[in-house]
Amino acid sequence: MNPAVPVAQAIAVQGDRILGVGTVGDLAQWGDYELDEQFKDHILMPGFVEAHSHVMAGAVWEFPYVGFYDRPDPLGHTWLGCQTIAAVVDRLAECERELKDPDQTLVAWGLDPIFLEGERLVAKHLDQISVTRPIFVFHASGHLATVNSAMMRRSGIDRYTPTPGVAKDFDGEPNGELQEPAAMSLAQDGFSAIGVAMMSSNAKWNYAREARNCGVTTIADLGTTRLTMEGQLEAWREATDDANYPARVVVAVGHFDSNSIVSLAVRLRDEEETPKLRFGIVKLVLDGSIQGFTARISWPHYVNPPPGHPGNGLWLIPPEQLADIVSGYHEAGLTVHCHCNGDEATQVFIDAVELALQRHPRWDHRHTVQHSQMTTAAQYKKMAALGINANIFSNHIFHWGDQHAAVTIGEERAARMDACATAEREGVVFSVHSDAPITPMSQLHTAWSAVNRLTASGRVLGPEERISVAKALEACTLGAAHQLKLDHDIGSLEAGKLADFAVLEEDPFEVSPAELKNIAVWGTVVGGTPHVASSK
């Protein structure tokens, strides 16, 4: 991804950095060398940079997976999809037998009932596994959970429970389905399990293993308030200081009370950075999601919202407060990454950055619109003028593109959502991302999605917004590095940068663009140290 030297025969590494790129002959001018030919049949790319994912992608693997599609775990084991209720019950029964402590709650994740034919999975199915051990199953959406009778008993959930979201059958008895956080949190030790797991060392390791398995060498855990918790910074340090930890991590601080977050984020950036643990970014969340009908979308809003929908989505930060919040971080020299799914949210963020810049001119801030799913051409033009970056959720085209065209925003706007070609044309530096675990981590997949714009049903959604393979791969490397303010160190292969490589079995420029996502990954090299993928 270095335009000056796009292709080379060899790469020389000294310590954790690249000494040079070229022919073996060119590189010999640096003196004695040891020729390492282990990758002579592989393709070395700059390590992929996933600038928007979450450590939760590692934490979920503390628990058994009961989703519909096959999914590989960070250790290389592929969990086969559970395509019937019986398969879900069998999987959980197997896991239940492995638990020694009879009081320990069995927690599982990934259940997606819309794919399971027949009746809905409820408590009585889970009671087949155990009537004494509490069982808690998260749905893939994250908004629902299904629990067994033992879990309800332990949590005091019964026919008299008034909490909205405790689903009840015709007789008024709770059926085990808990909808939305207030209801799910009644089953506290199940509901909190993934959050607790996120703080573990193992989750941090599995997060990096997941990255390694798909060629990602730098991951951003985009937005956590847990750094304020005792021991969390130390836990990140301990993991990333380990020579075997296979990734660099950028931990973005989640906005909360801005005064304390400003000082925390500045201190982390100035005092706590190490080669594999970086800071300097603050994450804001301005609106909800398009598929949840909670993104803030400009007129004419949603095309086919569910009954009772108020017409537009939710603000998570008061729009007129945003400029002050952004200004606080901006003046402290921090970079603000703001979750904006809808175009109305994007506009409010752009306006806030413009005001912050008027108050406090500052060059090269690299504030970034995250998700940027509905950002318009005019908004991209304005973003280019203000120096705002974009990180585009290209995987949405594949995972939810059909629904966006039919139900959420309609054909025309779905065809121009996740508009990589427009961002490129208007001169915005951009990346693409998976938001793992929302969609599985793989920059080859996000690039494939940006290049092909194929939906799950197989149609091309918005062909005009497709970009070239070269541009998509640049977005996954230099583009992402730029918005993390790490492009001086990573994102391309050139002398002086860190020796971070994605090691691929095939050349992405040689395979057909439709095959990009299927390229096998050997693993990565991080700071000169090879890390083989677990499936190898």
Binding site: T163, E180, P181, A182, S185, L186, D257, P318
Partner: protein
Amino acid sequence: MKLSGDLIEVSVIGGYLGAGKTTLVNHILREASERVAVMVNDFGEINIDESLIDSSDENTISLTNGCICCSLVDGFATALESVVSFRPRPTRLVIEASGVADPGTIAAHGHGPGFALDAVIVVADAVRLIEQIADPLVGQTVAGQIRAADVIVLNKIDLCDTLTSVNAELSELNPKALLIYTSEAKADLDLLFGREILRTVSSAGHVGTFESRTHESTQPILRENLEALIKNLPSDIQRVKGIIRLAEAPRIPMVFQLVGRSWDLRALADREKSPEGNRLVVIGPKGSIPIAWDNFLR
């Protein structure tokens, strides 16, 4: 008297940015007669006299009156768990929602183990409400909050000269909520927390058909003026209560109670705690409390 046994009663305070939620929270912490735990988003905004603070750390402030204030930084579930574990145990939990939150969604948490939801209280800015509801960016958010309310605290009425249209807007959005008029968010806590309603109003109809105003003044009142006022009280006003000082004995705070047509005036037992001046809370059917009452104490 608590209806819910050992459960901690939950009041959710919602309302758009700038309406006066934090002012109300500060007022509650100062005036509470029970052990209240308050959860707030922005810890830095809590503004309590130093003399009232017993101790504080990064995420909690303990007050000498038994109240405690804690941060929501780690989320609801964590905060709720810590509230149950406070000793002595609070009798009421007040959750301050963020300015854009749907307080109804937050209220769903008020049914968790150990808790019983009391009411959703929404603070509205009388001066800006109509403009906010018409705003293309936040109108839906503000209107949704008003609709979710059991109690509406219409704040800043002293600064509002369009009260009639504000009232019309409120009664269209949410005719069922009890309406409390305030300035500086000084709502009567008995009303806010439902006790007053249970005692005096519920027999007379649904709470949502009632409104309340608090009248304050500084000069002691002549007894004859007070009596004249009671005599001329609009007939549908059921309840007046508060603390006043009579011109005849200005240093003795007197508790005034009126229920129906009978009233009572007696010296306050604990004079130390009494505020300066007069403060009367008037409760009556919506539209029954004449604004002219604002002058009655003068």
